[in-house]
Every structure is written in structure tokens, then in C-alpha cells.
Amino acid sequence: MNKMIHIKDFSRPGGQLTEIDPAELMPLPPPYDKMEKAPIRQLTDDQRKRMDASLDGIVAIGLTPPATPEEEKAFIEKFLAGLEKLFTVENNWTFLQPLVHTLDYCVKCQVCSDACPTYEASGHQEIYRPTMRPEILRRIISTYIKKENSLLRKFKDSDIDLNWQTLARLAELAYRCTLCRRCAQVCLLGCDNALISREIRKIFSQQMGIAPKEIHEKGSVQQLKVGSSTGMTPAALRNVLEFAEEEIEEKTGRKIKIPVDKKGADMLLIHNAGEFLAWPENLEAFAIILDAAGVDWTISSEITGYDSVNYGVWYDDFQFARVAIRQSQVAKNLSVRKISLGECGHAHKAGIVIADRVLTGDLNIPRESILPLLEDIVLSGKIKLDPSRNNFPVTLHDPCNMVRLMGIVKPQRRILEKICPQFREMTPHGVENYCCGGGSGFAITQSTNFPDWRSAVSGRMKLKQILDAFQDVPGAEIKKYVCAPCSNCKGQFRDMFEYYGVWKKSGILYGGLVELIVNAMVDIEKPFIQWEWH
């Protein structure tokens, strides 16, 4: 079915453009080669009535069709107005140059398709090609914005019919790309088709107010409103920290007071607040290490200051800037010397790199990754470590934002090489890694059947890599660890491993980097890592 799709099909009213056929998906090694259930749940009739699923039967946004032709016309006009704004300096200086370059110079050679894990794992579903979205956009621009002569258009760009269905499918399609930018990395012409996904998302959000609820309403808006995308208020944070302190004492016998709002501290550490609720052991391990190493640090309890996430980086420049500015304001109010980002990939890229050209004057506070500091602590001998405590197979997942998009490659490796005797790399790794499948907001998108899609399709390549890395120890009786120094990646692993039954079938657990460090600490009696599925 997927072999027959053409760009003009996007304008076909009604019906589903393609379907994910389990038989066409990239094969996985045994015992994952035979799934007992259909890989992706079908939507209910009620869901189908309420939400458009005409792209691939999956829903990330779920737009409601217009009730009248007037509504459809208004929808299209609003989109086109947004598209025009994308090419104006005042509205889109942020990405104008890379956007124009990609649209003007891509020669559609398809080298990027081979590099895309979603396209590859889907069994080469035509709609997931990295060149598909830009090509649709290019044709809309040529036909409806530039309004080029019809003959000339057919000669060099070709037409597209624009209706509500075209745009609904395009909106969904923008949320089938994890923004891992592997496609951009292999492009010899410097084009970035992943960026086009982000720019399409931008039009829908900034012009039309359309974005997945988990990313906007329950994500960046909630973070700005109550303090965290998890919904955690400053008061709730205090409770979480108290709980963490109690747990630390229980697990290690150490009484550690996690510093909160310490004025003039050397370093403001901002975690992904998802850790606090889903993986408190990560927060605890950080507190144990920094306390043992004598680091002068603090956590903030101000709104937005205790959650490093910045979902705007995936879909909306203003939501991105709002969070980045508030995080810097928090640091400024605390008079800290620097901001350090905990184990969260997109927060690294957003806070350290991308915010760089939004923060000016005294808001431009030095920002860095926590990984080099951890490397220094581990390699310098500031804390005593016994690698034999981590004598189990460990592999490392490279979060795209931290590695390919930031160049932080070696610190985490030097740590693992020092403390994990059975550390082994995935293939490929480093800046050529594959995305976990949960990038660009996918890991937090839990509605309808989207989680099935990201486990079955966008995360499939990563699962294969993990299984391959442990192919010498495939059985569940040997416990294995995927080190993922990123909360979003961990969220994806949690859901994907659950989906495939990886813990039961293969005994593979996932977790952060700091947990492995604490697990190796000589003066902590009990093992810190608990080999339980959670």
C-alpha cells in the first residue's frame, strides 16, 4: 500500500492515506520477531469521528474537520498567512536562513531517507521520507504564495491542491519526525529536512494555535503557569525533595540536605522535573555525588526554575524563549555563577545552545552540561569507586540533543569506561547514533494510539541496536543496563520496553548515568541500582 503514495494523494478527501502494516516493519531479532498483538491499536469509531487520522491512522494532534466550507476556507487562509510569515525577518529571523537554504537547495537525492530511523524502521513508508514534508511545503509555496506561472510551476516544482485534508495530514506528518537531524547530518548540501518539520509545527502553533496537548497546554503552558510540565508546584517540589532526602538516608545511611534556593551558590542545577516523579533515584544520586564531592550547588523552587524542560524547542519559538528567559531570571535572582543542566538531552540543547541567541545582557548567564563535572569527579578520584560493583553488561544511549546536536560525546564514555567493566558500544554510536524514538515530544505524547506508533516505528531502530549490543548475553537471567542520560529517552525506553516486554524477555533495564556512579561508590554499603522494573 505504501509503495503507491504520491504527493497529490495528500489532497485526496477522506480515507486514510496509508496504514502501518506489521509485515512491512523492519525485522527485529528473536524473540521480538513475532509480536503476539497487532503492533498499533486501531482507533475507536468515536475517536475517528472526533479526530482526523487520515494520514496513517495515528493521532498526535487529532484535528476536528471543519463544519462548513467557510470554516475550511478560513483554515486554509490562516495557514497561508502563517506560511508567509515564516519568510519574514521580523517573524522568523530565528530560523530564516536554514529554512530558506533547505527549501531552495535540496535536490531530493534521498540520501537522507536512508539515514532516517523512522523511515527505515517503518519498512520504507513513503510518507515518512524526510523529503516528503519539505516537498509538500515547497509545492504549496510555489502554487499559493509565490503564485508562479502554471507552466513554469509544472516545469520546476509541480502543483498541489490545497484543502483542509492536505493541511490536516501535513500537521500530523510534522509529528512523525523526531527532529533527531540524522538526515541533516548526511546531507552534502547542508540542507536540514528535520527543521522543516519544526517549521511546519511552528506555523500551526504560532499562527493557528494547534499543537499536541501534551506539548503545549499540558507542557510549556503548564510549566510557565505552575512551574513544571509535570504539574508539580513549588510546594509539591518541597515534598518531593523531602521524600528524596528520606530515601537517601534509607538507602545509604547518609543525611543529605538538598540545597534549595541557596543565594550565591556556585551552581544552579536544573533537572528535568520528570525525574522527580518517575525516577527519583536520579535526583538522589545527583545529591549523593555532589555532596560527596563538595560541590557548592542549589536547586530552585521558583516557577520554571526547577524544571529544565523546554518543549518550545520542538514547535514554538515564543514558548521556547519564555521558558529560557524565566530559567535565566531564576538564576539571576539567586546570584549563582552558572547554570548546570542535569540528565536531559533537549534541555541541554535548548538551555545551553539555542537559548544563547535569545538571552542577552545580564540574562546571558554561563550555562553548561553537568557531564564534564561528573567526569572530573569520577576520574579525579574525589570519590572512591569500585567498578566490580557494576560488573554487568552496560551499553550507552546517546541522546541526540546532547551528542549529535551539541558534541558532548566523550565525558559520559570516560565515566563508563572507568566504572563499568562490561561496557559496550551500540552500532552506530556517538554523533551517528539513532534516536530513542521519543524525540521532539514523542516520549510525552500519550494520547490515543500514538505511544504504540513510537514503540513500533520511531523507536524500533533503537530497540534493535540495544538488542544487538547485548546479543552475546540475550537471556533474561543476565541483567543488563542501558545507560540513558536523558529523561525523555528514559521515558521512551520505559514505554517501549513495556510494549515489547523487554525486561521479562531479555532482562534489560534502563537508567541514568549518576545511578551507575553511586552504585560503584565504595563507601555506600548496599547496591544503589535496584533491579526492578519501573
Binding site: W93, L96, Q206
Partner: protein
């Protein structure tokens, strides 16, 4: 006809240089963008594994040496070798590389012809049996560049057309313009190849032609060579209407987007530019954006949706 050739050639060269310049300047004049770097960044010390200065503690206190020569050589090598294609699409590369070599070498050939003609005006005798070393060197250099340009260009134009048709994934995204280009370029290179192999094996006529151009005296040429030169002039005029500027813009994209890892520092020129951009009024109409306010005003507002405007999804 020969006089017309002189005018056409000058027009063609002025046109291509002017349009390419306009395009490149337009590209460069776009405002600074948000950092969107992608690793490996070749000027970085640890580029061989993709490492960046962020691997150091307190990176802002450390020097950030940039090896620009390495970056330049890398991007030029990429222009000539196209290694990524070789790795992931070897069959495509087999045609793409000669096709591009054809472009590069035919331009090089004509530039060399210009220098050769200039040298001839200075009394240099160019030929295989020339008593002057420079004359022999010019002779063989022109023969090699011209000959290879005609052969690879012809081969590449045929091959690219075939592979674009044969490969479903390429065919689906190809436009009539792609095939027109292959056909037109085939005629350009093919006519040159024919004239060289059958009529002018020493490529002497091109030196005569360039001598005529420099001295503004119409050269006497074989009609076939003349046809090729007319086609080549049209080719030069047509090139700017294709995506061919990518020879230059891809290098710019590497330097100014992919490898742009320059941090914004307080009081820097970059900060001044950003402040100016932040002061511009935006017209986005999303429910969380106050249309008509400046970029920075919108960014410092909380932007919660109000009752009238609803964010969907």
C-alpha cells in the same frame, strides 16, 4: 556569426557572475539565526569523533581554537569527492560524480583557455612540440581538463537521466526540469565531445576562440566547435536558474549554519544584532501571542491562552 559569439560569451560570463553574486549576497545578508549546529563541527579540536567545546567544564573560560583551514579543505573535498553519496548510494555516486566533474572541469578548462590565450599574446607557443616548457604544460593541461570534462559530462548527463528514471524514489521527486537539464547538458557536453574527437583533437580551436575574445577579433572556427560554444554560453546563462548555486551555498551552509558554534557574548556585535531583531514587531496570530508587540515583549509575557482564543490539539 563569429562576432556574435564574442558578444554572447561576454554576456554569458557577466550574467552568470552577476546572478551568482546576487544570490550569494542575498544568502549572506539573511539575519543571524538561532544556533542550529550539528556535529561533527570540523573546525573543532575533537572533530574526528564529533566532540565540541561543551565537553569541557566551564567552557566559557577556555580558549576555543577554530581550524578554519581544515573546514575549508573538508568542504572543498566534499565538493570534489561527495563521500556521503559513495557511502550510501554508490550507484548514484557513479553518475553524480562524473556529472559534477564535468561542470567543474569545463569551467576550469575555459579559465585555463583564457590564461593560455593571454600567454599566447605574450609570445608563448602552445603545443605538444613547443620548445617552451610552459607551452607544453598548457597544451596537456588543456587537453586533460577539456577532454575529461567532455567525457565525464556526457557520461554523467546520460547516467543521471537514467538513474533518476530507474530509481523509484528519485523518479517520484523529479520534475520535468530535472530531465530537461540532463538532456540539455548532454547536448552541451556531447557537442564538445564530438568536436574534440572528430574535428579538433588538440583543442586548438578553443585557444583561437579565447584569443579572439581577448583581442576582440572574431575567430574563425569550425561550425561544430561554434555550435558547442554557443551551447556552452547558453548553458552559462541557464545555470543560475537551476539549483547550481549549491556549489557555493552548501559551503556557506556548512560554515554559517551547521558549524556555527560561536557563542553569543555580552557586549558583542552578535548581541547587538540580536537585540535589534528582538525589537521587531511580530504578526503571528496564535492565541498565546500578542500580535503587534515586539519579539521580546511577546517572549517576556506568560502567554497563557485566554477564553476567546483557544489552542487546539
Amino acid at each position: 556569426m563569429e562576432t556574435l559569439i564574442i558578444y554572447l560569451t561576454y554576456i554569458a560570463y557577466v550574467f552568470i557572475v552577476a546572478v551568482y553574486t546576487i544570490k550569494v549576497v542575498g544568502w549572506l545578508r539573511m539575519p543571524p539565526h538561532i544556533r542550529w549546529d550539528l556535529y561533527p563541527v570540523i573546525h573543532e579540536k575533537h572533530y574526528h569523533y564529533g566532540g565540541s567545546y561543551y565537553e569541557q567544564q566551564e567552557w566559557w573560560t577556555k580558549p576555543r581554537p577554530k581550524n578554519r583551514w581544515r573546514s575549508l579543505l573538508y568542504s572543498l573535498k566534499d565538493n570534489l569527492y561527495m563521500g556521503q553519496y559513495y557511502k550510501s548510494k554508490p550507484l548514484y555516486w557513479l553518475f553524480l560524480l562524473p556529472w559534477h566533474l564535468g561542470f567543474i572541469l569545463i569551467i576550469t578548462f575555459h579559465i585555463l583557455c583564457f590564461f593560455a590565450a593571454t600567454a599566447m599574446l605574450g609570445g608563448l607557443d602552445i603545443g605538444a612540440a613547443s620548445g617552451q616548457l610552459a607551452g607544453v604544460a598548457f597544451y596537456y593541461l588543456l587537453l586533460v581538463t577539456g577532454g575529461i570534462a567532455f567525457v565525464t559530462g556526457t557520461f554523467g548527463s546520460i547516467g543521471m537521466g537514467i538513474i533518476r528514471l530507474a530509481d523509484r524514489s528519485l523518479r517520484k521527486y523529479s520534475m520535468p526540469m530535472n530531465f530537461f537539464n540532463y538532456l540539455f547538458f548532454l547536448v552541451v557536453y556531447g557537442s564538445g565531445l564530438f568536436a574534440w574527437l572528430v574535428l579538433d583533437p588538440t583543442l586548438d580551436e578553443y585557444r583561437t576562440y579565447w584569443l579572439g575574445l581577448i583581442t576582440l577579433s572574431p575567430p574563425v572556427l569550425h561550425p561544430m566547435t561554434l555550435l558547442h560554444i554557443i551551447l556552452f554560453d547558453i548553458f552559462l546563462i541557464y545555470l543560475p536558474f537551476t539549483r547550481s548555486t549549491h556549489y557555493i551555498t552548501r559551503i556557506l551552509a556548512y560554515f554559517f549554519i551547521r558549524w556555527d558554534d560561536e557563542p553569543n557574548q555580552r557586549g558583542s556585535k552578535m548581541e547587538g544584532q540580536i537585540n535589534a531583531l528582538l525589537a521587531q514587531k511580530v504578526s503571528w496570530e496564535g492565541p498565546h501571542i500578542a500580535t503587534g508587540k515586539t519579539w521580546v515583549e511577546v517572549a517576556i509575557e506568560p502567554g497563557f491562552p485566554d477564553a476567546k482564543k483557544d489552542h487546539k490539539g
